[in-house]
Subunit: 334 residues, 2 copies
């Protein structure tokens, strides 16, 4: 029910995900009156892997998270998370209110031992055809040093166990590379990370290094991460749209048009892996279950990518692997 467009995007995306993944089964939680008409195009086989779970209410995207959690009984978001908690689903995918999703997921699925607050994580493509794990992307607006250290550990486990990078480099996002730069929380986190011998901490990185592949894990607070990701998305989308419209309306000979189209397509392919739709879906790391947050503005293709992210997180046993590794990596408790 969530996101800017609700079921009109999420239901067709669900059908698309079912088509491309024959192993997938989906529970669609929400208002059946909104959902059922959109299932008309599904064939019998798809319908057999699809179940509509009715929910009486929907958490509004502008609801205050704390209040939304208290009044969440019967809401689609809560019912979906309860399905994960009770083992009826392996993962929950939502394009709804991020704060409420974070609060409810924490309440119902519980954080892993040693983790205070889960973080939203995504794996960004970088220039070197590699991958960079980035977190937190918006689950925690304010973060202290200890939270940043926990995010760093979870990010490193993710990079090693799931992306497959041995001894992944971990950096803190800051406004300069010198030790004196940035707010106290980041400087304190740097001091703690340096002492963690199990972690390959490489220092501060500035935001212009986001896509250069200089680090495997980039850690920041949720406000900064959200702003960074959205800045990147905005610039990439603007480039792609300028590229598409390049030279439109100009009178050109037919052969020049063909060559131009060919060059455009080749550029689009080259930049395509940076298209934000391609990596929609941030994983809420640090919980005893898989929760994927889709961009609220996701289109059908992007939301189906978020569903695919959930499939992969389940198949790669992300929560279990993080839990198993946390014990050895976490600093000993006082």
């Amino acid at each position: 029910m969530g996101g800017d467009s609700g079921p009109s995007v999420t239901v067709p995306a669900a059908l698309q995900a079912l088509r491309s993944n024959p192993q997938l089964s989906l529970l669609l939680v929400g208002n059946p009156d909104d959902i059922t008409p959109l299932l008309a195009r599904a064939d019998f086989e798809q319908r057999s892997r699809l179940q509509v779970i009715p929910a009486q209410s929907v958490i509004a995207s502008d609801a205050r998270p704390a209040l939304a959690v208290r009044q969440s009984r019967g809401s689609s978001m809560r019912i979906a998370l309860e399905a994960v908690k009770e083992g009826r689903a392996d993962a929950c995918v939502s394009a709804g209110n991020t704060g409420a999703l974070m609060g409810l997921a924490k309440l119902l699925l519980k954080p892993l031992d040693g983790i205070e607050r889960p973080a939203l994580m995504t794996v960004l493509p970088n220039k070197e055809q590699g991958k960079t794990v980035v977190l937190d992307l918006g689950a925690n607006v304010d973060c202290d040093a200890i939270m940043l250290v926990q995010f760093a550990i979870m990010g490193a486990v993710m990079a090693e166990e799931v992306v497959g990078i041995a001894s992944p480099r971990v950096a803190l996002l800051n406004i300069g590379e010198e030790e004196t730069k940035g707010p106290e929380s980041i400087r304190d986190a740097a001091l703690m990370l340096k002492k963690l011998s199990s972690l390959n901490y490489i220092g501060y990185l500035e935001a212009n290094e986001l896509l250069t592949g200089k680090t495997d894990v980039l850690v920041c607070d949720g406000f900064t991460g959200n702003v960074t990701l959205k800045t990147m998305e905005g610039v990439v989308r603007m480039f792609l749209s300028l590229l598409k419209s390049q030279g439109e309306g100009q009178k050109r000979s037919w052969w020049l048009k063909i060559v131009k189209r060919w060059l455009q397509n080749s550029l689009m392919r080259r930049f395509g892996h940076l298209n934000p739709d391609q990596y929609n879906g941030a994983c809420l790391l640090g919980l005893r279950g898989t929760v994927i947050k889709s961009h609220g503005a996701a289109n059908q293709r992007a939301f189906s990518v978020a569903i695919e992210q959930a499939v992969q997180a389940v198949q790669r046993e992300v929560p279990q692997r993080i839990a198993a590794r946390l014990e050895s990596v976490l600093p000993p408790k006082d």
Copy 2:
């Protein structure tokens, strides 16, 4: 003396600025042993508009700002700012330590009445061929609501008086458009801005709207602004470099290569206004004098753009105009 490359970039950039602006005179403050050899290429006429002012020391880029300010006597940065204070120069341009520049500029040039802390501001090109005033870009890592309101007022005056936008739209950068989103400082600033009838406050904007022209003024704390600007720079540079290298090393017929080069150049022209080198130089707004901060990594061309920004700020009387407008726009004191 500042920036990643010091005089080897700033001195050639100064000569370039002198060549392109016949009205300009420059004082080069720093170590004469480093500067003088680089002046060999200047002709007699350029040398007549150029003066080397010796300085005994340089503030390190990684020095703690508070300490750097205390130990600043005799440093190139301080001598340059003193020249502005004493009227021997109209503006100071530096690629050095941002925190020290902010601290020293505040100490020597004093903030305008009603301004607690100056802010770094730049005018970004946007998709609609318009301009967006963005601040703070890194002068203040932590900002409370009152500072954000003051930045909004300064940004609006800048947009109206200098960029020439009537009743400029002012937005706060946040991680959602709903009133409940983001940290307390931003939510409080929003409440205050709504009450300022002299300001055209339009609410929150997310970072993906940075280049869409939805606002004329975008306000944020210095940490977020710095991260946002650098994220944008990183993505733009990556696109430009991918564009340049597109298809390199592939065997193609000569005519295809020519057409490809022509299309690439046309794309580069189209994206050129977004090249970070084109708008290097952030203005330290809110002082009784003109101070321009160049990117530390600026190349010769980018640093000469920062010098040109200083010329324009002086010609457009930015500090005087802001001072004159502040009185009528600032909320009445209790």
